[in-house]
Symmetry: C2
Subunit: 374 residues, 2 copies
């Protein structure tokens, strides 16, 4: 991802200047030296980069565990911070990152590029403008994150508690976990999740999850995900007092009730029968939006022109809370109430890291072309 | 339902003769006397009917609780039995009914008319012929059983523990609970369900359920149902080693993998990438099949010509086990392992019946036209 972003900053983002790059991987540094302009400076460690004062803002694209640590350090140095998703591997450290951001007067963004997708922007619009009425059920089947064993074998850190801190929830689903609550404006109050670890692949983390949630207003929700199914499904259904929305195949369909259901129910006397319903095909702008470049541009404009952030960094904790709570529910085989006990989760996660005896057949570390996969 | 079946037997079922009718409801008896031929005999109680020897077979369309009691009695008298769905209200009595049927040499059928639907017959065919491969996930969203409060108010017995023994699972979903395991050939080994009682309507039983199940082979499943949403969804997705089937809007679509997923996974070395997949529109015979008349005809032919039963009565316990286990899981806020503890369930159900203090505003008892609603 770092190389993609570097090229975007160079070629597409007005007002942004790529002045320095930092990587601990010599091979990636070699790539950078070959592809980036001579003016760019190179650093082997984050501290050298931060000390150099060659930057105003830093884009953190490291393994998940390091996001909060590096962001906190960057705020200490007074830099603006854009962090890749997920915000981190566990909420305890992400809360510390958020606290550091709060204390700082610098901009803080997160690479939730799917927030630029017109489909989800329209969904958020329909829900938050009241067209759907009060939400009763959310149901996201997001099982089209197929990953073969060869993907997991491509790096020893992949799909380990120590290396990534999780599986499909932490590596494939951060966007959906963000959009699930960003579009609806609702976080669950409690979660009961069923995670299967290494079910389809030789990995120690989860590759199959079904999570049931309950919201404060009585609504329920489901989140179903796996990397093991082909072909998967990406279908997000949201039911409300005034009908049903389904987002699938790049389309948004709103089954709109002519009379809100509670009113129909109060007035109708005929036994069988249901409210008149119109199938409405909602217009959505073509394409997937500006994606990563949109976030880079917005972040740049936030620094230069105080433009409002589409994806404030502080909001990264919401999606991560959902995935952390799903693990905790599966590990304890019980409900998890939100706000979650971050200390308990951290303790349990560290036990997984320490007790890991996982050895997997790893081919040489590979950097895959990630175009169209995130 | 009884009147519908009586007219079908009279007008459409070759080999069947409607000789007698029994009802404790005077109004329904009046209807029968007005609409049925003079040759038909009338009885106020089941015992009078059974004693009369005016029948060879009995079709039991009473409140759910009475199905097993009456069926057992009918077998004692040596009659063939066709029972309406659900098989009963609790598995303990249904097991007794099955035991009685086993001891008898009479035919025993259940009115699972949806088994005549070409859509579900084709689904069963695709799964059981191996086209889909081993099942990995089943997911039925069946939320289009909308019922307004006026429906529930139409009879004091409706949606009470004492009167019906349950809500949406027992009254609206028996077909789906049957088809879910009939088409896949799989019963779960454990269930974790979340039932909401009187959530959308002024009733004491459940009107909203999310149930998660696990099967012996490691597959998982979901069953999501409510009477409170409009418009609902009826979408059954089944994933297997060789692709995915979706049954929705009267259509069956099979996303067929060219190479089974396990083989692809074993052979593929490219990291990202997934098996080639063909979207196949599967031909399904027009219409919904013969429905109730199909079951009546099949049952008649089973008696007269020893035709194989499409819906053997003994199989009614499977769907009922699923709904009983969902209640038990919700009541105990815990897993329920199958086979379920039928005695425990019966005890808990009777507690609900005894402790019911539910009073609802009931309009005069109504017999709605049920065409197209079951």
């Amino acid at each position: 991802m770092g190389s993609e972003h570097a090229l975007s900053l160079l070629n597409h983002i007005k007002g942004a200047e790529l002045t320095a790059v930092c990587d601990t991987n010599a091979e990636r540094m070699k790539w950078a030296e070959q592809h980036l302009p001579e003016s760019v400076k190179y650093y082997d460690t984050a501290i050298e980069l931060f000390e150099s004062r060659s930057i105003d803002a830093v884009l953190i694209c490291t393994p998940h565990y390091d996001h909060p640590t590096l962001a906190i350090k960057a705020f200490e140095y007074g830099y603006h911070v854009l962090v890749e998703k997920p915000a981190g591997a566990y909420t305890k450290s992400v809360q510390q990152m958020n606290d550091a951001a709060m204390k700082s007067d610098r901009k803080f963004g997160i690479m939730y590029n799917q927030r630029t997708n017109p489909l989800y922007q329209k969904l958020k619009d329909l829900i938050q403008s009241g067209e759907l009425g009060e939400i009763r059920r959310t149901n996201w089947i997001i099982t089209n994150w197929y990953r073969s064993q060869s993907y997991y074998n491509s790096g020893g850190w992949r799909a380990t508690w120590a290396g990534e801190g999780g599986g499909v929830l932490l590596n494939q689903d951060p966007h959906q976990l963000d959009l699930w609550q960003w579009t609806t404006g609702m976080m669950p109050k409690r979660i009961r999740a069923f995670c299967h670890f290494g079910k389809y692949r030789n990995i120690e983390v989860e590759d199959d999850v079904t999570a049931y949630v309950e919201y404060e207003n009585g609504a329920t929700g489901l989140f179903i995900t796996t990397t093991g199914e082909a072909p998967g499904t990406n279908r997000f259904e949201i039911n409300g007092d005034q009908g049903k929305i389904v987002v699938e195949d790049g389309k948004l369909t709103f089954w709109r009730l002519r009379t809100p259901e509670p009113q129909f129910n109060a007035e109708y006397k005929g036994g069988f029968g249901s409210p008149e319903c119109w199938k409405c095909e909602i217009p959505v702008a073509e394409g997937q939006g500006e994606q990563h470049q949109g976030i880079l541009r917005n972040f740049t404009n936030a620094i230069l022109h105080d433009e409002e952030l589409l994806a404030p960094g502080e909001e990264g904790i919401h999606g991560l809370t959902l995935s952390n709570a799903m693990y905790l529910s599966a590990w304890t085989d019980n409900w998890v109430e939100l706000p979650m006990d971050s200390d308990l989760f951290y303790k349990k996660l560290m036990e997984k890291v320490e007790n890991s005896t996982f050895l997997k057949e790893t081919t040489a570390s590979k950097t895959f072309d990630v175009k169209g996969t995130y």
